[in-house]
């Protein structure tokens, strides 16, 4: 495998999955769309796979499973099968060079009776040579089918004359292709090319997996996209350090929205006490902060807000927001990184500036989704509704501030209320 310096890293506190399983789909569609023969698609897909494998090691993923060829794929043309098998031979060469350096144990998942003999021999050799490596595991599913794996396990249990009462989940696991692995259970399942199916990949081991469907075809699946999938996974795994966020989401969406709008409306008045008082009330209601903390938080928030609003001093806004989010984080015991969240918030304000239509605010909506997901440790998908409402509220605010009338403030408040309701609903 060629050494590519991807410089991939994830933010502090990211919950890294132990086991990622990927269905590599879309090579043929990718080639067809480009007017290329299928073989070119498989080649490009193979290159993408190598990069993703390398990146996943860099990111600290222990076990990686690739499914390249299923028990049902024998129905494809012999030419295409030959193409794929040749890539497998390439892989064996490439991998052998790398395995020792990176400490990767190779495991073949699937049947061993139909694959070309030289490949089976090469796999056996690789497995033998790498069996003592522990840093990573690379599972290659080739001539693999989930039903077939279960079937083979059941037959072997019968062959071994195991009495029925001895069969339990642990015993059954030890008869599967992933036996003896430290992380047989898949944490994150990725399928490229937009299909929303598992096609029977590791039915047993996928019980707890989070599903991530990537619209792009495999040849376009980059390490950066793998990283995005991991970040999304991480947000879904909520960790509150023993403190459940639900306890801190006791606010009444209607009241919070009303209080927040009150200070939005005052923003033309510079640093007045009333301004801060309103923000104070709002933060007390939303996060249940003590008076002392709410006062401090309101100060940071207002300074940040005014910096971005009047001075367009994004850096200074960011510094104050970081302090604001640090305070909230410590109090509410959320697992986000204040500096990251602060950058997102500032970016959201930047993206939102002057936007008076949803269409024009698509960047802002994307940022809002990341912000809401990051703060509340939920997936982008889960954050989508709240983010959309937040953007709508801000559009109404922009309209109101341009002088388009009182009704826009009412609408802003309504959207904001729905935003808080969606947030509460989502996180509860």
């Amino acid at each position: 495998m060629e050494k590519t310096k991807t410089l991939l890293s994830t933010p502090k506190g990211t919950h890294i999955p132990n086991h990622i399983a990927i269905i590599m789909d879309g090579n043929r569609r990718w080639a067809r769309a480009k007017g290329l023969p299928a073989s070119e698609g498989h080649k490009a897909g193979y290159r993408a796979m190598l990069k993703v494998a390398r990146a996943s090691q860099e990111l600290g993923i222990h076990t990686l499973t690739f499914w390249g060829f299923s028990t049902e794929n024998w129905e494809r043309s012999s030419k295409e099968i030959d193409n794929i098998m040749n890539l497998v031979r390439h892989f064996v060469e490439d991998f052998t060079k790398d395995a020792k350096k990176e400490g990767v144990k190779f495991v073949h998942l699937g049947r061993k009776d139909k694959l070309p003999e030289d490949i089976i021999n090469a796999f056996n050799k690789l497995e033998e040579e790498t069996k003592h490596y522990t840093r990573h595991i690379l599972n290659i599913a080739l001539d693999y089918g989930g039903k077939d794996e279960i079937l083979r396990a059941t037959r072997k249990i019968i062959e071994d004359k195991i009495p029925a009462e001895k069969v339990d989940e642990r015993l059954f696991s030890s008869y599967l292709d992933t036996k003896d692995q430290p992380y047989p259970y898949v944490d994150l399942f990725i399928r490229t090319s937009g299909e929303q199916r598992t096609s029977g990949l590791m039915p047993w081991q996928m019980e707890y997996a989070e599903y991530y469907f990537e619209a792009d075809h495999l040849p376009d699946f980059t390490p950066e996209k793998l990283r995005n999938a991991i970040l999304d996974y991480s947000r879904r795994r909520r960790r509150f350090g023993g403190n459940d966020i639900v306890e801190h989401l006791t606010f009444d969406p209607k009241v919070v929205a009303k209080l927040e709008i009150a200070w939005w409306r005052l923003r033309k008045i510079p640093k007045g006490t009333r301004f801060q008082d309103y923000a104070f009330n709002h933060l007390r209601e939303q996060f249940g902060l003590s008076k002392q903390l709410a006062k401090e938080a309101a100060k940071y928030l207002i300074v940040a807000f005014l910096e971005q609003d009047n001075g367009r001093n994004w850096e200074k806004a960011k510094i104050n927001l970081k302090k604001f989010y640090k305070l909230i984080k410590d109090e509410v015991k959320l697992a986000f990184e204040p500096s990251i969240v602060a950058s997102m918030q500032v970016k959201f304000w930047e993206d939102m500036a002057g936007k008076e239509q949803v269409k024009a605010a698509s960047d802002a909506e994307e940022t809002a989704r990341e912000l809401v997901a990051e703060v509340n440790r939920i997936s982008l998908f889960q954050a989508a509704k709240a983010a959309h409402l937040l953007v709508l509220a801000n559009i109404e605010r922009n309209l109101a501030e341009r002088g388009s009338g009182e009704k826009h403030w009412d609408k802003a408040q309504d959207y904001l209320e729905r935003f808080y309701r969606a947030l509460k609903e989502r996180v509860a």
């Binding site: 089918g145 019980e207 309701r421």
Partner: protein, 239 residues
């Protein structure tokens, strides 16, 4: 006999023969409204009926609901107790109404995990509806995918089958859904993107749809939209 009946579907358009639903979001629905989690479960139970009737009208032959997982049953005792009470209060009536509409009920999972009174409620309902010829409603109760596989393997061992007898069809026959078509569409509500071990062997080629709606808010309209989505998916069965 059951399998034979399933071979002659009365369908117009491409409707999934079997839809499986993971009903998630009851407690979040309740918490967002500041009411007890159990109220969410009650509200969620009310969502089942309109969805079931819509599916029957569409010509769906089997409809499965992931009602209670084995994991659910290992929650703190007071929570489990409250859940079981919702079942006590609602299951019987729901099953009676389904029964009147020629819908056949089947319990999937390990009923042995339930108190005896509930076991007999489910067993009675199963027996009562055994002769029904309409849609089948599976309620997964005390279910987990791994447990289903282990139970199947045990039955196969006890049945003294030889390794040669062990075919995909044999395993299928010993799963809880024996005689039923596999789900072609799996829906999970409640904005979580996982299946939590629902039908591991049956859902291999299912189209999977994750809905952002919390289960008590799930409507017939949304079901229609998801079926419309299902219809435009290309199903290749791995080939």
């Amino acid at each position: 006999m059951q399998a034979e009946r399933l071979k002659t579907p009365e369908i117009e358009g491409d409707v999934p023969l079997h839809i499986a639903i993971v009903m998630d979001g009851n407690r979040r629905w309740a918490k967002a409204r500041g009411i007890l989690g159990i109220e969410g479960h009650k509200e969620g139970a009310r969502t089942i009926e309109p969805i079931a009737f819509r599916c029957r009208d569409l010509g769906v032959q089997v409809l499965s609901f992931y009602t209670l997982s084995i994991e659910n049953l290992s929650r703190p005792p007071e929570q489990v107790g409250a859940l079981l009470n919702v079942l006590r209060n609602q299951a019987d009536k729901l099953l009676e109404r389904l029964d009147k509409d020629n819908i056949r009920f089947k319990a999937i999972g390990d009923l042995g995990l339930f108190p005896l009174d509930l076991q007999s409620v489910f067993k009675d309902a199963e027996q009562r509806s055994a002769g029904k010829t309409g849609m089948i409603v599976n309620l997964a109760l005390g279910y987990s995918g791994a447990d289903e596989v282990v139970r199947a393997v045990k039955k196969i061992i006890r049945g003294n089958f030889s390794t040669d007898d062990v075919t995909p069809n044999l395993i299928k026959d010993f799963l809880d859904t024996s005689g039923q078509p596999d789900p072609e569409l799996v829906i999970r509500t409640g904005r979580r993107s996982r299946l939590s071990g629902f039908f591991p062997l049956q859902s291999m080629y299912s189209e999977i749809f994750f809905s952002p709606t919390l289960w008590p808010d799930f409507t017939v309209d949304e079901l229609n939209q998801i079926i419309a989505w299902y219809r435009v998916q290309t199903r290749t069965f791995g080939r």
